[in-house]
Symmetry: C2
Subunit: 402 residues, 2 copies
C-alpha cells in the first residue's frame, strides 16, 4: 500500500486543528493599547450617527419648499458654525449660512453650496443651479440609529474600527486575551543566532520567523528555546512548557533515528491527533493535545515548511481561537504554467505582478524547503491543489499573503 | 470656468507628495526589536546556503555511479546525524545512513529514502525504485553563494526576512529611523473620546484612525492634540509642531468661514505645494512644506476622507520616506456595476467576496464621507477612475486593502 494512503488530507488536518480552538478569555484595555488586538464586545450605537442633520458642504441652508416655489433670493438669518446649536430657520424665504460639520437648523432641509450663490447685503441670491431636496445634508441617523447593534463579531482593531470606537466614546475596550506560546527549535545542528557555526551546523531561524508571525497578532509573551536531538533532554525541557496554551516545535517529527519529538510528546502525555499530511512542504506535521489544554504543533525543521505551516494551519487556528473569521480568501490567476511534482497539495512561494491591470501570481525560484531566500523574495504562497495536474497560465489559485 | 479645472489630478498630487520624500536616517536595533521595521542594510551571504550538501530525507547516502553500475546491495559504513561532521564514504559499494539535515559524506552524491531500502546485518539492500543522480540532497550553495548579495533594497522585516537574518547571524540590524509625527484634529464640534457630547458635537475619531495607521509602520512617537476653529489658537499650538518630520491635520481645509488651516499654515511659513485634488472623498486636501523640513498634510475632517487620504497619499509617502517600494497594486473585478457620481477619481469602500474561486469587489453601503461604519465593514477601498463612466460588473479596479 503506498505510504501516502496513511496520511490525512490538508482539509482533514485543518479541521482537526480548528476543532480544538476554545472560546477566548477577555480583558479590558485602553483604546490606545488595543490597536491590532481583537475586539471582544458587541458595539452598540450610543446615539444616532450622524447625531444631527449635518452640513456636508459650506453654504446656505434653506427649505426646499421655497426653492420649489421658485424663490431664488433669501433673507440671511444668521450663521451656524460647527460645534454650535442649530437653532431654527426663522420663516419662509430665509436661509442660514452654515459650515461643513454644523447642525442644520430646524425648518431647513436643503443646502445650497457657497459656489452657487451670490451674497448681497443681508440677502443671498442662489444661482439657479439644479437643486435636489436634502442635498449636501447628512441626515441624523442615516448611518446608524441610537441603540443599533453595529458590530456583533470579533474583529481586529484596525484604523477604521479604532475610529468607530473613538466616535462612540469607548476609551476602554474589551479584547481577547492572547495565548501564551512556547517555541522549541530542535536539532543537534542548530546554533543560536550569535553562534559561530562549524561547517555542518546552521543557526536557528525558525523561532525568529514564528516570533515575527505571532507578533502580527500582538502575541509577544513567547518563550523560545533550542534543544538537541536527545529524548531525555527534550522531555525534561518540554514538560514545563505544556502549561502554556500553545507549544510549537520545529524539527524532529519525521521517522529518522533523530526524530524523537513524537515519542517524547507521547511519553509526556500529549495525545496525538494526527501525524503527517498530504501537503508539500510540511508533510511530517504532527499535532496533538495535552490533557491540561496545551495544543502542540510539531513542525518539520525546514524554514519554508515552518513558514507555510504557520500560514496554512497555525494562523487559522489562532484566528479561530480569537473568535476571528478566517482571512478572506483571495484567488488570483497564475502568470505561467506550473508542473505538478507530487500527488499532494503543493504550496509554493509566489510574487504578484500586474499585467494590463490584471494581478497575476508568478512562482519564485525555489530549490527545496530549506530555501529561505524563496520566501523572503515572495509576496505569499499559492496552492497547487492535490486534485489538479499541471497548471496552465491563467488558472485561478488560492493565494495566501505573508 | 468650472471650478474643477483649478484642481490638480490624483496623479499630480501623489507625485508632488512623493517628490518631498527624503532618504531615511538609520539606527541599529536587536533583531527581536526589529519586526515590522524597515531593513536599511545590504544583506550578503556569510557562507554558502546550504552551507554543506544537506540530506533532505532520512535514508542512505551513496555514489550514483555504483547504482548506475547495477549495484543494489551496499556495505553500511556508519551513520551521520544532523550536527555531525560529514566524513568520507569509505569506498566503492559502501553507503552511510544519514538523517535529514545532516551533511552528506564526501564521495556520496545521491540519497536513497529509508522507505526504499531493507536493512540487513551490516548491509543495506535498495529496493530498485528509480533513482536520479543527486536526489534528496540540497547541494551546498544552491540557494546562495558565500558573498552573494541577497537583498539590496529596503524592505519590512517580516517573518521570512527575520528568519533569513537569523540564519545569517544578524543579531543586530540596521533599520530606518521612524519619523516623528504630530496629529491635530481641528473643529469646534470635536470633543475628546471621554467627552460627553452635546447634540451638535461629536468625538474626535480621526486622530485614532491615524495613530492606528501609523502603528502599522511601527510609528509610535506621535503627539496628538485637538484645536478649535480659531486662527490664533491654531497658530500658537501648531508652531512648535513644525519641528516634527510630519504634521497631519484634519478639518478646516475647505473654503468656509471656519476653515482657518491653510491661512494659519501660510502665516507660520509653511509653503503650500497644492490645495484641492480631483478626488472623492478628500477633495479639499492641502499639502505643504515648512522650510525646516516638516511636511504638512491638511486633510478634510470627515473620517472616510481621512482614512482614504492615508491610504492614497500618506502611506505611499511614508513608504517612499522609508525607502520601501509601493504596496504591490492589486486589481480585482467588480462584483456589480457602479454609477459614476462625479467627474473625479472616486474611492469607495468595498468588501471582498469569492464566487466560484474568483475574488470580486462589492461596494459597501456608503452614505457620505462621514459614514464611519462603511469603512469598518469594508476590507479596503476601490478606485473608480476619473476617465471611466459607469462601471460594469467584471471591470478590473485597483484595490487598496486597509
Amino acid at each position: 500500500m503506498p505510504e501516502s494512503h496513511q496520511l490525512i488530507s490538508l482539509e482533514e488536518a485543518l479541521q482537526s486543528i480548528l476543532q480544538q480552538a476554545q472560546p477566548p478569555e477577555e480583558e479590558t484595555l485602553p483604546l490606545e493599547s488595543s490597536f491590532g488586538r481583537v475586539l471582544a464586545e458587541q458595539i452598540i450605537a450610543d446615539r444616532d450617527y450622524p447625531p444631527f442633520n449635518r452640513a456636508t458642504m459650506d453654504g446656505y441652508a434653506c427649505s426646499f419648499e421655497d426653492i420649489h416655489l421658485g424663490q431664488n433670493t433669501f433673507m440671511l438669518a444668521g450663521t451656524v458654525m460647527a460645534g454650535e446649536p442649530a437653532g431654527i430657520l426663522p420663516g419662509k424665504g430665509t436661509c442660514v449660512c452654515i459650515m461643513t460639520g454644523a447642525p442644520v437648523p430646524e425648518g431647513a432641509d436643503t443646502l445650497i453650496k457657497l459656489e452657487d450663490t451670490v451674497l448681497g447685503k443681508d440677502q443671498v441670491v442662489f444661482s439657479g443651479a439644479a437643486v435636489k431636496r436634502g442635498q449636501f445634508i447628512a441626515r441624523q441617523g442615516e448611518d446608524a440609529r441610537n441603540g443599533q447593534l453595529l458590530l456583533n463579531e470579533h474583529c481586529i482593531i484596525d484604523p477604521s474600527l479604532a475610529a468607530l470606537l473613538a466616535s462612540l466614546g469607548k476609551a476602554n475596550v474589551r479584547v481577547c486575551r492572547l495565548p501564551a506560546v512556547a517555541l522549541v527549535s530542535t536539532g543537534n545542528e542548530i546554533l543560536p543566532i550569535k553562534g559561530k557555526p562549524s561547517p555542518y551546523q546552521i543557526r536557528d531561524c525558525n523561532s525568529w520567523a514564528l516570533k515575527a508571525f505571532l507578533m502580527q497578532y500582538r502575541i509577544s509573551e513567547v518563550t523560545s528555546i533550542r534543544l538537541p536531538d536527545d529524548p531525555v533532554k527534550l522531555a525534561a525541557a518540554i514538560e514545563p512548557l505544556l502549561e502554556r496554551d500553545i507549544l510549537i516545535l520545529s524539527g524532529g517529527v519525521s521517522k529518522g533515528q533523530a526524530d524523537h519529538v513524537p515519542a517524547t510528546l507521547k511519553s509526556l502525555g500529549v495525545q496525538e491527533i494526527f501525524h503527517r499530511v498530504r501537503i508539500k512542504p510540511g508533510q511530517p506535521l504532527w499535532f496533538g493535545k495535552f490533557p491540561g489544554g496545551c495544543l502542540v504543533f510539531g513542525l518539520p525543521g525546514n524554514p519554508v515548511s515552518v513558514q507555510a505551516a504557520f500560514k496554512v494551519f497555525i494562523e487559522p487556528f489562532l484566528r479561530k481561537s480569537l473568535g476571528l473569521t478566517p482571512v478572506p480568501e483571495i484567488f488570483l490567476p497564475l502568470g505561467r504554467g506550473r508542473e505538478k511534482r507530487t500527488s499532494f497539495d503543493e504550496f509554493f512561494p509566489v510574487r504578484l505582478e500586474n499585467d494590463h491591470s490584471a494581478t497575476l501570481l508568478f512562482p519564485v525560484s525555489y530549490h527545496s524547503s530549506g530555501d529561505f531566500l524563496s520566501t523572503t523574495l515572495s509576496h505569499g504562497l499559492a496552492l497547487h491543489p492535490a486534485e489538479e495536474k499541471d497548471l496552465m497560465e491563467g488558472q485561478l489559485l488560492k493565494y495566501l499573503s505573508w
